[in-house]
Symmetry: C2
Subunit: 235 residues, 2 copies
């Protein structure tokens, strides 16, 4: 790791969006400081994927921040609410799902901002995507720009003119198929990623939750096979 590389904070969940985003930041020659969150999510395999993937990419650093979003509840990702199954990608894109965690991306980006100021990084990479997840308000460009504006008024380094924070969302206008193609083009090993909200007891992706459906559609439309293992379909 060359020490004269510019630093970037990269939010890394372990799914195909955030891993492709990290691959893009690395491809731009940035020293990547990956940041993941242990927020009591039910799908722990995602966090394990983030760790394995970060290691495989030789990131400059990978920090996992433990926060208790579960104390707030309100989402199928942290509570014992049923994860919706078998919805069509078009339906997923139109509605805000029960897996929505209130203000989650704002919390994540705030920690990214804190780390950015700490390590003096001007670039924050975030795999937000407004096409496949149009239901999430905090994945839209309008929101990202407002966060960036706030961020540059929030920090000592910003106010002193030493640091101008930029939130990069390279995937924001891409389809899942384009994301898959971009990842493969950058040599990303998608077998190290994880998307399923509701894996089986033996660690197979369900293939039916919103996240699996969007992922499978992406691979299908890109014309590639998804390298991870899925639970056999019930007949």
């Amino acid at each position: 790791m060359s020490s004269d590389k510019s630093k970037a904070v990269v939010l890394l969940s372990g799914g195909i969006d955030s891993t492709t985003t990290l691959a893009i930041a690395r491809d731009e020659g940035l020293a990547c400081y990956a940041l993941s969150f242990d927020y009591g999510q039910r799908h722990r395999l995602e966090l394990e994927a983030a760790c394995g993937f970060a290691k495989s990419m030789n990131v400059a650093d990978h920090r996992i921040v433990k926060i208790d979003l579960r104390a707030f509840g309100g989402s199928a990702l942290t509570d014992q609410i049923d994860v919706p199954k078998g919805r069509e990608p078009e339906e997923i894109s139109r509605t805000i799902p029960v897996t929505y965690v209130p203000a989650r991306n704002t919390i994540f980006l705030s920690f990214a901002l804190s780390l950015a100021e700490k390590i003096e990084a001007e670039d924050i990479f975030f795999g937000a995507n407004q096409l496949d997840y149009s239901g999430y308000p905090d994945c839209r460009g309008e929101y990202i720009r407002a966060f960036e504006e706030m961020a540059n008024l929030a920090t000592k380094a910003g106010v002193e003119g030493r640091l101008k924070v930029k939130i990069h969302t390279p995937l924001i206008q891409m389809t899942k198929a384009e994301i898959v193609r971009k990842g493969l083009e950058l040599g990303l090993d998608f077998s190290l990623t994880w998307s399923c909200y509701d894996p089986t007891a033996d660690g197979l992706a369900c293939g039916l939750c919103d996240s699996c459906q969007l992922r499978l559609k992406g691979f299908r439309e890109a014309g590639f096979d998804d390298p991870i293992a899925y639970a056999p379909k019930k007949s």
Copy 2:
């Protein structure tokens, strides 16, 4: 607790600013949902004060979110950096102290936003003050307005038009003396509050750190005695 009261999320650290802010929100007839953070701060007495105070005020709810800001380091409030002692209030106001935690208020307000959306509260109360803490970028009105704008683009409830979040900072233009007078006027028991960054082993306020200096100046200028116990001055 009447159930038809409007709900407010109140950030509560346990110092005189946040407790006075809570007293103001309660005085406005709001049902107060206090929110504190256990972020590895060295001055644990502040968090204990927050708990005791919230109880004494019969808040509707008090949640403590545990987050590991310490993993980021960079502040005398969480690291083993010496807390500055014996600085004049004028000097404190002019500079950003080593006790500054990167993006701390942004992280705290993000959690407040998450809770607000969860409980459907439109009002977030935050005891930011730009006179006595002009060195903190994230205590300025300009920053607060930018956060509010971002917040209303960030949430499902905001986007659906069900919730318009407002960040209230009733103390932002007040001097510490005015804050003390306001608190006393509202019947606030300041013996339940805590400000010191660096208490003695037997739990007395040091009287010398920035936070003690500003607090003592506030009481002195308001013409009242501070009811908490201070370590005897060394001759």
